[in-house]
């Protein structure tokens, strides 16, 4: 993991003190809300339906045990004993008091964390593959580059007031687990003629205008990353629209300009900027890379692991679902599901956070990851330790073996918390998970993603089944999209037809799933493959069979 230097610590502490003074001036009336709002947002403090919300950055989803314990401490001392891990690999606390937020930021600074640039029209937290540095299919570890981008973009004077927020995702693996083509910039590390390079995508994004990112350059030498990103951002900063926030994202700029014209402008800016970097960025990258050396792997006897596989069905199912291959042959990566049937997707109690921190410290080289799918990952675990990890997780209610199944749902906070939402997401996710709990192994791999408004924080556009909650004449109403994909074949789902009211939604999903089970060629053909093979029409007919009968 990246270790903060004195410079980082001094910068974060200074921002906390600035913010503390801003809160003081707001409370004594020296600042109006209009003046204060952009200042609190710069520090991750939002106002939601019931209370303030603090969004804390977890850089590229990476946490140490100490940091996780501090999040648990914050949850207990200033919130309601839990935290919500988000689709951008961050954590949100839903109930802080404004007056306490400077103290919370101070507590975060104690463990080298902050909430800077988790809001506003800036470059947000860079997200990445939750298995970065561990994945078997990895070409190169994306974390040093993500950290380089974090350092470059934090408080970057030119990019603090972009036309709109800006999200970058990066993967170093063959399989895209970071949904890079649904980001303003998506970066894929590749190897070309023995050297590391980037494939760069631009103009992806979900929200009210969902677009899959287009390829901007197929082989950018890794050493050119920062000047090239700076070129893209500088073109967008000048050409992006500021007159209409719904037309202000880079995807609209690229669409209006055309990818070739946009590329030409970026290339022009790149030639100018490249010289200015002078190799200083590469020296910084070299220092950063020292922080991301592989852990000291330990060889252990596998006897207890194989015994448990043979003798414990629950353990075997959990290994099949929640354990991923590791680049080291006797290691694995464990995904801890935060999707217990009926639980709120992405939520963890303070006790669970502490227990997970203990596991990471004891078994996982002190590392934790947050996935964009709102689960927690132990990236480096000796296979021999899997039985002990499973037993501990089971004792704290976190051994649900459902990764990739129908109950492993991405859901935004929706109208239970979010001031922008038009309908609730969480109860829909809870209902689906409970309804299909006994059938999910039969149903197999299926990604359901739920958003409570058109802003699409729940990534519904790229779900195999997407559910979008809307307000239809004062009633919560849910639109279904099918055919979306978040992987290498990223695709925007197709809207199926009229939305369903709450009492219609579950029967509609029943019909959809029954249709899939009847239509699939064999048990191994997953839902997305059946939709791809047959198109959406048979499923549309299943969803709206009642309309046709009427």
């Amino acid at each position: 993991m990246y270790n903060y230097q004195e410079f980082d610590r001094a910068f974060v502490r200074e921002r906390v003190e600035q913010y503390r003074d801003q809160v003081r001036r707001r409370l004594d009336g020296a600042l109006t809300e209009d003046e204060f709002k952009p200042l609190r947002l710069m520090n991750g403090v939002y106002l939601q339906l019931h209370a303030y919300m603090l969004r804390i950055a977890i850089p590229y989803g990476t946490l140490s045990s100490r940091q996780m314990r501090q999040l648990a401490y914050i949850a207990d001392k200033w919130d309601k004993g839990y935290g919500h891990f988000t689709t951008r690999q961050n954590i949100q606390f839903n109930w802080p008091r404004l007056v306490d937020t400077p103290d919370i930021l101070d507590a975060l600074a104690d463990v080298d964390m902050h909430a800077i640039q988790t809001s506003g029209n800036t470059i947000r937290n860079v997200t990445t593959d939750q298995f970065a540095g561990a994945a078997l299919d990895e070409v190169a570890d994306p974390r040093p580059y993500a950290e380089l981008i974090r350092q470059w973009s934090t408080d970057h004077p030119e990019f603090q007031f972009l036309p709109r927020k800006f999200k970058i995702a990066i993967t170093g693996a063959v399989e895209d687990r970071a949904v890079i083509r649904a980001h303003d910039i998506g970066l894929q590390l590749i190897e070309h003629e023995g050297r590391i390079a980037f494939k760069v995508f631009v103009g992806g994004g979900l929200g009210r205008t969902p677009i899959i990112g287009q390829e901007l350059v197929d082989r950018l030498p890794a050493e050119d990353l920062l000047p090239y990103l700076e070129a893209v951002l500088s073109v967008y900063n000048l050409a992006g629209r500021r007159d209409n926030k719904y037309k202000a994202r880079i995807k609209i700029t690229v669409g209006a300009m055309g990818i070739d014209a946009f590329r030409a402008k970026v290339d022009e800016a790149f030639q100018r900027l490249r010289a200015a970097f002078n190799g200083q960025d590469l020296a910084v990258l070299g220092e950063i890379q020292k922080n991301f050396a592989p852990p000291h792997y330990v060889e252990k006897s596998h006897e207890s692991y194989f015994d448990a596989l043979d003798g414990d069905i629950g353990f075997r199912e959990w290994v099949e679902r929640n354990v991923s291959p590791h680049k080291h042959p006797s290691y694995a990566s464990v995904t801890i599901s935060l999707k217990g049937h009926g639980d709120t997707p992405g939520d963890a109690t303070s006790d669970q956070m502490r227990a997970i921190a203990d596991l990471a410290e004891r078994f996982a080289h002190d590392e934790l990851r947050i996935s964009h799918e709102q689960n927690i990952v132990l990236p480096h675990v000796a296979q021999a330790d899997l039985p002990a990890i499973y037993r501990t997780l089971r004792s704290i209610g976190l051994a649900t073996a459902n990764i990739g199944l129908i109950s492993d749902i991405i859901a935004c906070p929706g109208m239970d918390y979010c001031a922008l939402a038009t309908a609730r997401s969480i109860p829909i996710a809870q209902d689906i998970a409970l309804r299909y709990a006994r059938r999910e192994a039969e149903i197999g791999h299926m990604q359901i993603k739920i958003s409570g408004c058109i802003n699409a924080c729940g990534h519904h556009h790229v779900g195999h089944v997407g559910i979008l909650g809307l307000d239809k004449a004062g009633v919560e109403n849910y639109q279904i999209t099918l055919g979306g994909s978040a992987g290498n074949d990223a695709a925007i789902g197709e809207k199926m037809g009229r939305g369903f009211n709450v009492d219609e939604l579950m029967p509609a999903l029943d019909r959809l799933i029954d249709a899939y089970l009847a239509l699939r060629l064999h048990e191994g053909e997953i839902f997305a493959e059946t939709v791809k093979r047959l198109g959406t029409v048979p499923f549309q007919e299943a969803l709206y069979v009642i309309d046709q009968a009427a």
């Binding site: 106002l47 019931h50 209370a51 404004l98 239970d416 109860p427």
Partner: protein
Amino acid sequence: MARIKAPVVITANDLLTGEVVYLDLAHRWSPELSTAKVFNVIDEAEDELATVFSEAVVIGAYLAEVSTDSKVTPRHYRETFRHKGPSNYFHGKQAVQDAEVAA
């Protein structure tokens, strides 16, 4: 957007806590919807809203439609959730109301 219809109350969030509050008959901000001042004429509500909008103790004041059949209740589900709390945990106003009943 459809024009808001009376009866309405004035609601906002408390500056210190973010809690949902309502303007009451004594022109104080109260967490209780039951004591909120109900406006039956939109123009009067908008005039009062203009006077409280920039008050330092609350954020984002606006008009919310209510029903007044037997008691004051929100008309839109968004306001119902604001008045009650989230549906996934027993937090927010519902917990406070429950504690008061128990006491």
